[in-house]
C-alpha cells in the first residue's frame, strides 16, 4: 500500500525536468550553509551538544513516541468498539498535541524565580479546562454516534435475521435508500400474516434476474429464483397468487 507512491514516481515524468534538480541543489546548498554556520559559531552553538539534541529528538520519536502510539492504537482495538474508537483516537491525538506543545508550562519547568510575569498562569487548571473541553466534545460525538447506531439497529436486526435464515448476503446488495421508511413489525398484512422481517426495497440483482417479485413485498435475498420462492413461502402464497386470505 505504501509502495504505490514509489511505483508511480518511476513512470511519472516531471513537467519541468530540471526543476526538481534545481530544487534539490538549492536544498543541498541551504543544508550545507546551515551545517557550516553551526560549526563556525561553535562557541555559541556547542556543536556536540546540538548534535546530541538533534539525533536524540529523532531517536526519541522513532523508538519511543511512535511505538507508544502503535501500542495505544492496539489497546484501543481491543477495548473500544468501532465507531467509537475513531472518536477516542481523535481526542487522544488532540490531547497529546496540546500536552506536548505546552509541556514545560504544566510540568513547571523553566521560568525565572525572580520574575513572576514569566509562565504566570495556573497551567494545571487551564490544562484541565482545555482537556475537559476536548473530552466533553468527544463524549458528545460518541453519544451522537450511539443514537445513530440505535436508529440503524432495526435495519441491522433484519439483516441478521436474514443471515440466520442461511441466505448469503452479497456486499452491496442491501441498500438503504435515503428516505424510505423502515418496515414496522406491528403492521398486519392483508393476508392475515404479519410481514416477515426483511429489508425494504428490491435490489437490482433481483429485478435484473426477472424474478416475479411484487413491488410491495420484501425482496428475496440471494439469487432471484430461490428468493422469489422464499418470498412466496413467507407470504403463505405458494404458487397460487395473492387471493388467499383476503
Amino acid at each position: 500500500m505504501v509502495e504505490e507512491g514509489n511505483a508511480i514516481s518511476a513512470r511519472d515524468a516531471p513537467r519541468v525536468p530540471w526543476g526538481r534538480g534545481l530544487l534539490a541543489a538549492a536544498g543541498l546548498a541551504a543544508l550545507g550553509y546551515g551545517i557550516h554556520g553551526l560549526l563556525t559559531a561553535a562557541r555559541a552553538t556547542h556543536p556536540t551538544q546540538a548534535a546530541r539534541w538533534l539525533i536524540g529528538g529523532v531517536l526519541a520519536h522513532d523508538l519511543i513516541v511512535a511505538p507508544v502510539a502503535a501500542l495505544v492504537g492496539l489497546a484501543l482495538t481491543r477495548l473500544v468498539r468501532a465507531p467509537y474508537r475513531a472518536v477516542v483516537q481523535g481526542a487522544l491525538l488532540v490531547s497529546s498535541a496540546v500536552l506536548l506543545s505546552s509541556l514545560p508550562l504544566w510540568r513547571g519547568y523553566g521560568g525565572a524565580p525572580g520574575n513572576p510575569s514569566v509562565d504566570p498562569l495556573p497551567y494545571g487548571r487551564n490544562l484541565a479546562l482545555v482537556l475537559g473541553a476536548i473530552w466533553l466534545a468527544a463524549g458528545a460525538l460518541i453519544a451522537a454516534r450511539a443514537t445513530r447506531a440505535r436508529g440503524d439497529q432495526a435495519g441491522h436486526d433484519q439483516n441478521r435475521h436474514a443471515q440466520r435464515r442461511g441466505d448469503r448476503i452479497q456486499p452491496g446488495q442491501i441498500r438503504y435508500e435515503q428516505g424510505l421508511p423502515l418496515p414496522r413489525r406491528d403492521i398486519r398484512h392483508d393476508w392475515g400474516k404479519p410481514l416477515p422481517e426483511g429489508p425494504v426495497g428490491v435490489g437490482p440483482a433481483e429485478r435484473a434476474e426477472g424474478g416475479e417479485v411484487p413491488a410491495a413485498a420484501p425482496p428475496g435475498l440471494g439469487e432471484g429464483e430461490a428468493g422469489g420462492r422464499r418470498v412466496a413461502e413467507n407470504l403463505g402464497v405458494a404458487e397460487e397468487g395473492p387471493e388467499e386470505g383476503s
Binding site: V2, G5, D12, A30, A91
Partner: protein, 415 residues
C-alpha cells in the same frame, strides 16, 4: 546515473522480523495520499515559520545595506506572533505526518539502490531538524534552558538545515504528491462492491458507478478524513489557547501560553528583571547621568531628563518570544535629544545600557532614530518607569523587537 539506481543485493529473508514484516502496520492511515496532504500543510507551515524567522533574525542583525522601516508599528508583532503560533501548531501536523510514514522507517529491503539510500538518508536531517526546532522553540518561550547552546544562534542555523532538507525532500517526492493529490491524480480500478466504512454511511448506490477513486479500506478506527479532522482540531485548539499572548483582546482565552500581556509590574510583562541584569544598585544611583555623545556632547541629570519636553505615545513591546503587550509611554523624544547634540539626521546611534553583556547595547538606525514615536521613555502607563522595566530611562520605538528596546539607558553615542 545508472550506477546509482542499480539494485543492491537483498538481505536474507529471515531477518524480516518485527516491524520489518510486511503486515506489521495494518492501519489504513499509512497511505501516500495522507502523507502527501499532511506534507503540503506541514511544508506550508514550515515555510511561513522560516520566512517570519528570517525577518526576526534580520531585524536583530541587519546587514549594513538594509535599514528596517519603523512603520507599520505592529509589523514585528504580527510576524513574530505568527512565527510562534505556526511553530506550535506544527506539533500535531508533524506527529501525524511522522505516524503516516512510520512504516517507511522499516521498509524492506532497507537499501534498494544507492539512489534509494541517498533519498532515505536525506530524510534524517529533515526529521531531526524539524523536531529540534519545535522542541527548542517550545523550551525557549517557556524560558526553560535545559540546553547549553545559545538558543538564538543554534535555532537560526538549524533552521537553514531544516529548510534545505525540506527542499530536497520536496524535490524527491514531487511526483508522489502529484500522483496522489489534486485533479490529475492516479485512479485505481473500481472494486466490484465498495465496502462501506464502519464510521460513515457513504455507500455509493448501484446506479451511480464511481469513476474510479480507489476506496479506502474498511476499518473500525480513525478514517483518513477523521485524521484530517483531528489534526485540524488540534491545530485550532493550540492556536486559540496561545493567540491571546500577542493578539489584543484575546487575553481571556490565553490559557496555555507562557505569557499574558497584562500580567506583570505596571500591567506589562518583564523579560529580564533588574536583578537578573545586575543593575539594581547602579540604576537607583541618584548620581545617574544620561550622556548624549555627538558633535556637541552633553550630559543630563535625572531631574533634567525628567524635565525635558515630554511626549506620550502608545506602543507595544513585541518580544522575540512571540508575546506582545500595548502600553502608554511618556518621556523625551530621542530625535529631540539627538538634535540637541547636533547629531545629523542620517546618522546611526548606539544606545547603551547599564547592563553589561550582549544585550547591553543596541544600534538605532535613522528610520527609528528619527521617528517621532521613538522615545527615551521615563514613564509607563501614567507612572514612573519601574525598575524592572528600565528605570530611569529605556528606549521604546515602533516596529522593533523587544530585545532591542534597551533598558537602563545611560549613554547615547553617535556612530
Amino acid at each position: 546515473m545508472r550506477l546509482a539506481t542499480r539494485r543492491l543485493p537483498e538481505p536474507p529473508a529471515f531477518l524480516r522480523r518485527g516491524p520489518l514484516r510486511e503486515d506489521a502496520f495494518p492501519s489504513r492511515l499509512h497511505h501516500p495520499r495522507v502523507a502527501a496532504l499532511l506534507g503540503l500543510w506541514l511544508g506550508a507551515a514550515f515555510a511561513v515559520c522560516f520566512a517570519t524567522g528570517l525577518i526576526s533574525h534580520f531585524m536583530q542583525h541587519p546587514p549594513s545595506w538594509l535599514d528596517w522601516p519603523s512603520r507599520p508599528v505592529n509589523l514585528y508583532r504580527l510576524t513574530q506572533g505568527i512565527h510562534v503560533i505556526t511553530g506550535l501548531t506544527c506539533v500535531p501536523l508533524l506527529l501525524a505526518k511522522l505516524w503516516t510514514v512510520y512504516p517507511r522507517l522499516w521498509e524492506w529491503p532497507p537499501l534498494r539502490s544507492v539512489a534509494h539510500a541517498a533519498e532515505r538518508l536525506s530524510v534524517l536531517p529533515l526529521v531531526a531538524g524539524a523536531i529540534f526546532q519545535l522542541a527548542t522553540g517550545i523550551a525557549n518561550i517557556a524560558q526553560w534552558y535545559r540546553f547549553r547552546f545559545f538558543f538564538t544562534v543554534t535555532h537560526y542555523w538549524v533552521a537553514w538545515i531544516t529548510i534545505g532538507a525540506l527542499a530536497v525532500h520536496v524535490a524527491a517526492k514531487l511526483a508522489v504528491v502529484r500522483a496522489n493529490v489534486g485533479p490529475g491524480r492516479a485512479r485505481g480500478p473500481v472494486p466490484d462492491a465498495p465496502v462501506p466504512d464502519a464510521v460513515t454511511r457513504d455507500v455509493p448506490g448501484p446506479g451511480v458507478p464511481d469513476p474510479g477513486v480507489p476506496a479506502e479500506p474498511a476499518g473500525g478506527g480513525l478514517s483518513r478524513r477523521g485524521l484530517g479532522i483531528a489534526v485540524g482540531t488540534a491545530v485550532g485548539v493550540i492556536a486559540v489557547t496561545n493567540a491571546g499572548q500577542f493578539v489584543p483582546g484575546l487575553a481571556a482565552v490565553d490559557l496555555l501560553a507562557p505569557r499574558r500581556p497584562d500580567v506583570g509590574p505596571q500591567h506589562l510583562p518583564v523579560n529580564r528583571t533588574a536583578a537578573a541584569a545586575r543593575v539594581v544598585t547602579v540604576a537607583r544611583d541618584p548620581g545617574f547621568r544620561l550622556d548624549v555623545v555627538g558633535p556637541r556632547p552633553y550630559s543630563l541629570t535625572l531631574a533634567e531628563l525628567l524635565g525635558w519636553e515630554r511626549h506620550t505615545v502608545r506602543l507595544p513591546i513585541t518580544c522575540v518570544e512571540g508575546w506582545s503587550a500595548d502600553a502608554t509611554w511618556h518621556g523625551p523624544r530621542l530625535r529631540d535629544l539627538l538634535d540637541a547634540a547636533g547629531v545629523p539626521p542620517d546618522a546611526t546611534v548606539r544606545v547603551e545600557s547599564l547592563e553589561r553583556g550582549g544585550y547591553g547595547k543596541s544600534e538605532v538606525r535613522p528610520p527609528h532614530a528619527r521617528d517621532p514615536l521613538t522615545l527615551l521613555a521615563t514613564g509607563l502607563n501614567g507612572a514612573d518607569l519601574g525598575l524592572d522595566h528600565g528605570y530611569p530611562a529605556r528606549l521604546i520605538a515602533p516596529d522593533r523587537p523587544g530585545v532591542l528596546q534597551t533598558k537602563w539607558v545611560h549613554r547615547v553615542v553617535m556612530l
